[in-house]
């Protein structure tokens, strides 16, 4: 009996036409192995569905909700096509372009430490680094390095960070932002750069970590999974 794996897969996915499906069902009755192979395809589907179901419950960032609710940029009464541009409007567009570029640059250079609601929170490159980098990784041109990641007793994710030659600190994820719970200036730069992230941390940061950490620092897999969940505290 030669039913291809693709045919059995399509049967398990409900993609075969009635005649082809009937053929598979006949084969299934004659050969329990075929039934097993189909069951395997169905089980994998169920495994994936289950593994990814939790992602649907993640809180959606406000900026995406706002984007989905916003009126389209080109309103009903505005033409969908751009008008033909004369020299004057081209010059204006060039100026706007420069303005946009400047704004974009300003945006990239957003302060790394900001205040919001009385708390110090990470912004700009620090926010991005805390959210995306794994321990030990770095992005060319960014001063942000991550030391270690761990779960706090509160269940929140926390990470230590170093801003090369400037400061180091501890940040914990609360809802949609990284709150900076401890911050210390970098030690004298005499021989910096050759020590491990751990030993380079000032006493104040180490103490802040020890006061909060539950269990062991996270390994690489733990970081990958936490990152995939946007560092949202998971049920223990």
């Amino acid at each position: 009996m030669s039913l291809s794996e693709e045919t059995l897969m399509a049967y398990a996915d409900g993609e075969l036409n009635p005649e082809a499906a009937a053929e598979v069902e006949t084969a299934m009755r004659d050969d329990p192995k075929i039934a097993q192979r189909i069951a395997r395809h169905r089980a994998l589907r169920a495994t994936l569905q289950q593994a990814y179901a939790a992602e649907l419950a993640l809180p959606v960032p406000d900026r995406l909700l706002a984007a989905a609710r916003a009126a389209p940029a080109s309103g009903v009464d505005r033409p969908t096509r751009l008008p033909r541009w004369g020299f004057a409007s081209m010059a204006a567009a060039l100026l706007i372009g420069i303005g946009v570029a400047f704004f974009a640059w300003r945006h990239v250079e957003a302060p790394m430490i900001q205040t919001a609601g009385g708390a110090r929170v990470a912004g700009g490159a620090l926010d991005r680094g805390l959210s995306t980098l794994l321990s030990g990784e770095s992005v060319p041109g960014s001063p942000v390095r991550i030391g270690l990641s761990f779960r706090a007793k509160s269940g929140d994710y926390c990470r230590t960070f170093v801003l090369v030659n400037a400061a180091s600190g501890l940040a914990c994820r609360h809802a949609t932002r990284w709150e900076i719970l401890a911050l210390a200036p970098a030690p004298a730069a005499a021989d910096s750069g050759y020590r491990t992230a751990g030993s380079a941390l000032p006493e104040a940061i180490v103490a802040a970590v020890e006061a909060r950490m539950a269990g062991e620092p996270m390994d690489r897999n733990g970081e990958l999974e936490a990152r995939a969940r946007y560092w949202q505290a998971a049920p223990p």
Partner: protein
């Protein structure tokens, strides 16, 4: 007005779809923050041309396709930066393979991360998002035969990565 009611319902459906769009985008972009950026771009684009969507077709497929195209544009725009990033990512995967071998259980997500992009997207659309083959092929702009072979290969790879005892 009828149009404004239709548009309101479009907004509502779009908001309801956001969690699935983010989930698909994460399988596409790998990095969750890139994923949200690309969802935002896709949503903005969709609102510009919402009247092109025919209400007798699936909005999820239509949106997945816009997300995918937005990601392709994003990669092009990043140009060289993206190439460097992708190269680093490939290197990371090689290193990870030996590390993973030591752990007993591999999560479904890490197994998915090990698939080649084209297989991961086929699996993501059909098995995670539940699209029929025809719709998934349409989202990825490929013939249905190509979709089924990518899906079959992706499934096979996942089966062996996730099978208990398959990892020595």
């Amino acid at each position: 007005m009828n149009t404004s009611r239709t548009r309101q319902s479009f907004h509502d459906q779009l908001v309801a779809l956001l969690p699935r769009l983010r989930r698909f985008a994460r399988n596409l972009a790998r990095n969750p923050h890139d994923a949200d950026d690309v969802v935002q771009i896709a949503v903005e684009r969709a609102l510009l041309k919402w009247e092109q969507w025919r209400s007798d077709t699936r909005l999820d497929s239509w949106m997945f396709k816009i997300v995918r195209n937005a990601w392709i544009d994003e990669l092009r725009a990043r140009g060289r930066r993206a190439q460097i990033f992708l190269a680093a990512e490939a290197g990371e995967q090689v290193g990870e393979a030996s590390l993973e071998r030591e752990s007993q259980l591999m999560s479904v997500q890490s197994a998915m991360a090990r698939l080649p992009q084209e297989q991961r997207l086929a699996v993501s659309l059909v098995l995670v998002e539940g699209l029929p083959y025809k719709e998934a092929a349409e989202v990825l702009d490929i013939p249905i035969g190509t979709l089924t072979s990518r899906l079959a290969r992706g499934r096979e790879a996942l089966q062996s990565l996730l099978a208990p005892g398959a990892v020595p």
